[in-house]
């Protein structure tokens, strides 16, 4: 897909009913964004607790598999809130997003974060892997999700 085809697609998103409806309201975008932030905090909490355990900072007596099991449901719940609020936010300003470097950084890191969490971090930990790379696993996950959150906030400044 060439870049002019992508921008056309983004214009199509922005012209969508939901996009126009949100743009036409004074308070809808801020309110959806507030819930997006709550979703981020829920996901962030499960990332912080899971990854800080992997890095050996907290709950050292607990098995890493147990901590990940306890936090992953809330990770998914936070992710669900983020996606269901993030899509309407995107639709309301898709063209701005297209030209925002922060948006693309966020999206690339988001894909990496999801793949890393569900294909590497969680399966390894839940299969009982307890080797030397565990702290690195925690640090990598924490770093990726921090970049996702920070670049996401930066979309608003661009």
């Amino acid at each position: 897909m060439e870049s002019n085809q992508i921008i056309e697609l983004f214009y199509f998103f922005e012209d969508s009913f939901i996009g126009e409806y949100i743009r036409g309201s004074t308070w809808l975008f801020p309110v959806i964004e507030s819930f997006h932030l709550i979703g981020l905090a829920v996901l962030g909490g499960s990332v912080v607790i899971g990854d800080f355990r992997l890095m050996g900072f907290i709950l050292k007596k607990e098995k890493i598999g147990y901590v990940i099991k306890q936090t992953r449901v809330w990770f998914k719940f936070g992710f669900f809130i983020l996606v269901s609020t993030g899509i309407p936010l995107f639709l309301s300003e898709a063209v701005k997003c297209f030209y925002s470097r922060a948006f693309w950084i966020k999206m690339i890191c988001l894909v990496i974060g999801i793949a890393f969490t569900f294909l590497v971090r969680n399966p390894l930990v839940l299969k009982g892997y307890d080797g030397k790379l565990i702290p690195l696993l925690g640090f990598s996950s924490f770093f990726i999700w921090t970049v996702v959150a920070a670049s996401g906030r930066w979309i608003g400044f661009s």
């Binding site: 975008f29 709550i38 905090a41 962030g44 912080v48 607790i49 930066w154």
Partner: protein
């Protein structure tokens, strides 16, 4: 109070923060990250009290393990929040969402105070077993609910559609936000 805010706005650092191209966004982004740190960890502390997560751990073990992170998050969130206020003091002071947020923080603070007082007195009785008093569970849920509202009102500060400069507003909005308005200017315009 308005005079203090006006004085703050004239200080060198406030102007520098307000006019900085990158520092203000960096502080705001950090504020968001520390909110995640604070609220996200508090979520698990409160969920433990309702018996939804980490039931293998006693309440005090959970608090000992997680609460330090929550407190660090709170301190950093407060510090960055104060800087954000300091950068635009008058506009924030007259912002209705800022005022709602402060009120909610006071409520959340009182709830936390009630909670920890009771916790330190009685926790030994129900620390290990699952019979956490109902009032404590209610307090945990109230904590999550109030802090969620703090986040929402905090985010709305940036979008204030009741700003003093956006007149006409209704009289009671101007009263609640301490806006000084010359009503004669808006005579005959709807909404006042």
């Amino acid at each position: 109070m308005l005079d203090i805010a006006k004085w703050l706005a004239t200080t060198e650092w406030s102007i520098a923060l307000h006019e900085s191209l990158y520092l203000y966004p960096w502080i705001e982004s950090s504020h968001v990250l520390f909110i995640c740190f604070f609220f996200g960890t508090l979520l698990f502390v409160d969920l433990r009290l309702t018996g939804k997560v980490f039931t293998n751990l006693s309440i005090s073990e959970m608090n000992k393990g997680i609460l330090p992170l929550t407190i660090i998050g709170f301190c950093l969130m407060t510090l960055t929040g104060l800087l954000l206020f300091y950068a635009i003091p008058v506009r924030n002071y007259q912002n209705i969402f800022f005022r709602i947020k402060i009120l909610l923080i006071i409520i959340a603070g009182l709830n936390a105070l009630f909670f920890h007082r009771r916790m330190s007195k009685e926790a030994k009785k129900w620390d290990k077993d699952s019979s956490i008093p109902k009032s404590m569970k209610v307090s945990a849920i109230a904590s999550l609910f109030t802090w969620s509202l703090v986040i929402i009102s905090g985010r709305l500060i940036a979008y204030n559609w009741f700003d003093c400069d956006r007149q006409p507003q209704s009289e009671w909005i101007n009263f609640l936000t301490s806006c000084v308005v010359d009503y004669q200017l808006y005579e005959g315009i709807d909404g006042i």
